[in-house]
């Protein structure tokens, strides 16, 4: 197993999870619990990116250390849009699509941590193994959060079944356009 490849892939997936968490926070700013928790959880991924960049040096990798800590101008636009849209049914469906997306991204990150842990064990790199043991549980918690919020919100938002199908199908295209 190429550890440098595993590190690079995990670094990439953690960075996108951090960015996606912030994006979802901005987009649902008026949903206060989503906003604050998503931002708290983004910090975990930012910290993981930082630690991966550090440990990557030992494997000859130059991984960037800067996960987005704020989502910049576009973020403010999304926050404003969230405030203007308020709590209407459509944003509810958008939130379900966003949480579904976050769950999938976090699941990918979790698998990447598992692969890295296997590799670290094979290479007897105890420092790297310790890092995976510290960080992987947080990826699982990010995943469970998205899952739990979906369970709480879906009865409210997808009263008609066909609308949920639309969400599931439209999920990919929504994320491409936003």
């Amino acid at each position: 197993m190429k550890l440098d490849l595993a590190l690079r892939e995990l670094h990439r997936s953690e960075r996108s999870l951090a960015a996606d968490l912030l994006k979802v926070a901005d987009r649902h700013k008026i949903d206060h619990e989503i906003y604050h928790v998503a931002r708290d959880l983004a910090r975990w991924s930012q910290q993981h990116v930082h630690e991966l960049a550090e440990v990557g040096k030992r494997y000859g990798l130059k991984l960037t250390d800067d996960a987005e800590s704020d989502s910049g101008l576009l973020g403010s636009v999304r926050e404003k849009a969230s405030e203007l849209a308020g709590r209407r049914p459509e944003p509810g469906l958008l939130l379900l699509a966003d949480l579904r997306h976050l769950h999938r991204v976090a699941a990918g990150v979790s698998l990447d941590w598992e692969l890295l842990a296997q590799g670290a064990q094979a290479a007897k790199d105890s420092e790297l193994l310790a890092l995976t043991r510290r960080c992987h549980p947080q990826s699982l918690r990010q995943m469970r959060w998205a899952n739990a919020m979906l369970k709480v919100l879906s009865p409210r938002s997808s009263r008609a079944d066909h609308r949920w199908v639309v969400v599931a199908q439209g999920c990919t295209s929504i994320h491409k356009t936003l």
Partner: protein, 243 residues
């Protein structure tokens, strides 16, 4: 759910629901409930007068097959799954959970350079609906104030007793300054002063600008869902001298 048609039958129905669960009421009758005061649950045929102490001899009710909830992740609020809980606590021991430090959800900025914290005074309880009607307590702390560190007044041009406006991104209140031993850069406002005993709202200068909770962010604990009402980034502006 058993049927009911009045308060007594509703209580009987509720009793049936509680049978065999930790908070078992089956030994309680409606007459007993109305009669005296302070019957401690569980109250069963075995303990008809209630149970004085819970968890005697370290017996908690945390066994996976008996407990009423599996708890939550303290940071995310996500509930634990039954299998997860069973693996974590098969012996039904009491669980103490720690939550890591998280930075405040609003921190001071150029626009709002100070921290505001809110809290209590010894003379009042919550919004004073009781203590505000007890004359000695009401006289001891009749009006809202804002505490400020001895190191801060110069920077904000306010001194002891001055009226100031404290504002956050959400609202503003007016309060008299009290200089105290609080930490530099932090203000304190008691949250007891609201609107139920404020003067006539139609009247100019009514006291509709003194509730500390108007300033705090909308945020709650993800596990307990308790609103936080504790923290805000604010600025302060002197609006008048000692009143």
């Amino acid at each position: 759910m058993p049927p009911w048609q009045d308060v007594e039958s509703a209580f009987e129905a509720w009793k049936q629901c509680s049978a065999g669960r930790p908070c078992d009421y089956t030994g309680l009758s409606y007459a007993k409930l109305r009669g005296g005061s302070g019957i401690q649950w569980p109250c069963t045929a075995e303990h008809p007068e209630g149970t004085e102490r819970l968890y005697v001899d370290g017996q908690f009710w945390a066994a996976p097959e008996y407990c009423e909830s599996y708890g939550r992740d303290l940071v995310t609020g996500a509930p634990l799954e039954p299998t997860e809980y069973r693996a974590m606590n098969p012996g039904g021991k009491a669980v103490i959970k720690a939550a890591e430090y998280l930075p405040a959800h609003e921190v001071p900025s150029d626009e709002f350079p100070l921290y505001l914290i809110t809290g209590r005074t010894v003379y009042h309880f919550h919004t004073r609906t009781k203590t505000g009607r007890a004359p000695p307590l009401q006289a001891a702390a009749p009006q809202v104030w804002v505490e400020m560190s001895v190191k801060d007044p110069d920077a904000h041009g306010a001194s002891e007793g001055d009226m100031v406006e404290v504002s956050s991104a959400r609202g503003a209140i007016h309060a008299a300054v009290r200089i105290s031993g609080i930490r530099e850069g932090v203000l304190f406002v008691p949250f007891h002063y609201g609107y139920w005993d404020a003067s006539d709202p139609d009247q100019h200068g009514a006291q509709y600008d003194r509730a500390a909770n108007e300033l705090t962010i909308t945020d709650w604990d993800p596990a307990s869902k308790q609103p936080i009402f504790k923290l805000a980034a604010v600025r302060i502006r002197r609006v008048g001298g000692v009143s």
